[in-house]
Symmetry: C2
Amino acid sequence: MDAEQFREFGKAAVDYIADYYETIRDRPVLSNVEPGYLGDLLPKDPPQSGESWRDVLEDVDRIIMPGITHWHSPHFHAYYPTAQSFPSVVGELMSAGFGVVGLSWIASPAMTELEVVMMNWLGRMLGLPEQFLNCSEGPGGGVIQGSASESTYIGLLAAKDKKVRELMETNPSLTEAEIKGKLVAYSSDQSNSSVEKAGLLGSMKMRLLPTNSEGQLVGAALQKALDEDKRAGLIPCYVVANIGTTPTCAFDNLEELGPVCNKENIWLHIDAAYAGSAFICPEYRHLMKGAEMADSFNFNPHKWLLVNFDCSAMWVRDAKYLVEAFNVERIYLKDQHKGLAPEYRHWQIALGRRFRALKLWFVLRIYGVEGLQKHIRGQIALAEYLSDLVKSDNRFELCTCSMGLVTFRLKGEDSLTEKLLEDISKKKELFLVAGHMNHKLVVRYAICSRLTEKRDVDFSWRQIIETAEQIIPTPKKSLTKSDKQIHPVLNINCINPNLEKSK
Amino acid sequence: MDAEQFREFGKAAVDYIADYYETIRDRPVLSNVEPGYLGDLLPKDPPQSGESWRDVLEDVDRIIMPGITHWHSPHFHAYYPTAQSFPSVVGELMSAGFGVVGLSWIASPAMTELEVVMMNWLGRMLGLPEQFLNCSEGPGGGVIQGSASESTYIGLLAAKDKKVRELMETNPSLTEAEIKGKLVAYSSDQSNSSVEKAGLLGSMKMRLLPTNSEGQLVGAALQKALDEDKRAGLIPCYVVANIGTTPTCAFDNLEELGPVCNKENIWLHIDAAYAGSAFICPEYRHLMKGAEMADSFNFNPHKWLLVNFDCSAMWVRDAKYLVEAFNVERIYLKDQHKGLAPEYRHWQIALGRRFRALKLWFVLRIYGVEGLQKHIRGQIALAEYLSDLVKSDNRFELCTCSMGLVTFRLKGEDSLTEKLLEDISKKKELFLVAGHMNHKLVVRYAICSRLTEKRDVDFSWRQIIETAEQIIPTPKKSLTKSDKQIHPVLNINCINPNLEKSK
């Protein structure tokens, strides 16, 4: 394919994507295919001779699209959001177009340097403690990782390496294997599966500590576990605090956990994967008070900040601990710029890296801080709107409402809520998943798509109560009145109407 | 930004990329910027209000492009190639456009299923042993990882978990920590830095064994190391065989290593990151004889098969060992399709995954097997052409020529070759890096860009001998005659001229 054909194919693909978003509201959010559907539609081997791009694009529509779960449908409310925006898509396009791999500064200076500046921009937008920024005097800095899973794991590996070095110096009688066998990590029982996986992959015992009734890990629970473990001869090494848990978006108490970790010389990692984006709005920053006591901080612009997956922002208070844990030099990677610009390969697992700072730059500039704040505030308002609807119906119990996530259940046995979820799933018009709150089954309803509006929340609620009626047939309340009273301002039609028009 | 503005911006970006490739030959391959250049050109904070996409695109040209090292310039000969092709760029664009995250089958069935089929297509194209394929009867299968670094590391983690489980069952007196402290991994002293990094991150001693004078690891060297370690009470666990080493593209002897690993019950991982792509040409498959004895096999279509980074293909003989090592379940990830379609999140480090199979599908279809074979054969022919040029000049010593990689040096002290590389780098018209071969410094010259033609190799050679002349001023030979005699067929102008025109 030459450049001229690429112009045709690329532009046809741009149109296909634009058309897709213009029709996404009308598509059932969940796919209707059965496992194995695609194997039957494709040949067993690739073609010997090349085919036309038009045939390929037609097949995308014919056989791929039916197997897509529409994450950006306004009716997608499962998990947490994955971000998508047009500026970000173009950023990915250009990154692929340049096709550079940032295995060192010289391998494309702009790639390392834009990442440095973008991590500063982001850190300042969030009001992060200065010590984490590349632009600070100290040894801190930020880097783009692939996912929060990776960041949690990288934090664990760095913490382990640091602890082993320290103990081998202070206790020369201990062997490396003895130390490693005694290390313990801590997080809460509300943590994402990736936290447990980090322990599993990093061969470190991961204790998931009990939380309070709000799903938060507090200082006393951590201190108790540390004391138990130290008495048993174990070595506390790593704590993952959740700033926005996966089940209910609860916030661990950093102001209590921080001093415990600092006193005990334990690496504190903050996993703010989803909720971290909210800190671009100053009114939410109180939720990260205590972050200055952490050793690493991570959130995913690819979740809630309109930057396409993958773009996970990680900062460390002292980059030395990453480099010491990850650095393996070779002559073919030698260049003259060490120390003047970070060599990010020593901050991550893989050697190669994509030019991910580009899409971040596009999003931050084309939306601007205000556009992104409007997005976050709009989604939180929609979640509050749903929570009011839930409260207005006495068959339901509102469990939590935090940021863009609402959890609720049908009053009574878990089996009722389970049936509700099952029946909704069958219709494929809403995508919701289950969660647990205080040992009870709940529906997790997250505002995910940037396209979700008040009318979509109303659509959800109608689906939910119509389905509930089949399970507990009691007369439903009229919604029209309450919703008008409670949310007079919620007739927003897009994230940032002015921006959508003007840019 | 709405869909209409995206159409404009996206198409402008497509044109920008097409223009870039139409002018790439004329750009100096190496960037001229100094470390820190970009920080001075950008504001300290993101804009409060959104900006126009036109301003952003202009800035890409004004401040990013000068800091790009042109990996796809026909004059880029450093490292190994990173792949780029227009079908692949459109694949990335569409993947970002759909913006789905494959954390489970239901999260987008097409994403998992296309990956299954593509890994079968690829495996069959390479002539891989059937046991590795998803479509085989057995428990084997393939998955797309981010990089060879990741694959090597994942193999190590799976091997470690398998060995610990086995030993804890057969030797209940051993603790997990004792076993882990005794595990040893092996590779050769020619391995990529990522192999050593896998040992470092996975807390497993990594022994880099001596190779023969051709840079190959052979069975006797491995057996000797295993015997030593077993005598010392250690537990051999993992071997990484290089099929195409980074310094010289040497091939370890799989027919010798395989039986040793099988007999000793050691996980054998094959790292064919670069050279694996050549196995789509049957004439090179003899170099992977013995692969049927391996537990895992990895190569990077993102290196030499025209699929953009990241797309690293990994197969395992028994996927159970990945799932056992990596599986951490949670209720919000529960779905009904387990067993019917692979849940790839248990085959990798992170939870989330991009839709990378799409670009692979685009490339395989639009190039076809023959188009890709022509690409591989064309690049090997160009490397052979350069090696003949080197041989024709008696100031130079040809060290190796394997696949698309040639290594050579100026006869005499290393300082001469070092000076040669330094002086060439200063001109920024060629990008070459240093390597070592039998403790001597060599120039590594890889055919990287899909745009490199015979005239570009001639250009390189002229630069090399002109620079060499400043160092060892002896009369140069006439090149015109020998090149015409040796390579009558090398007047190819693109990978696949027919394909370029017709598709």
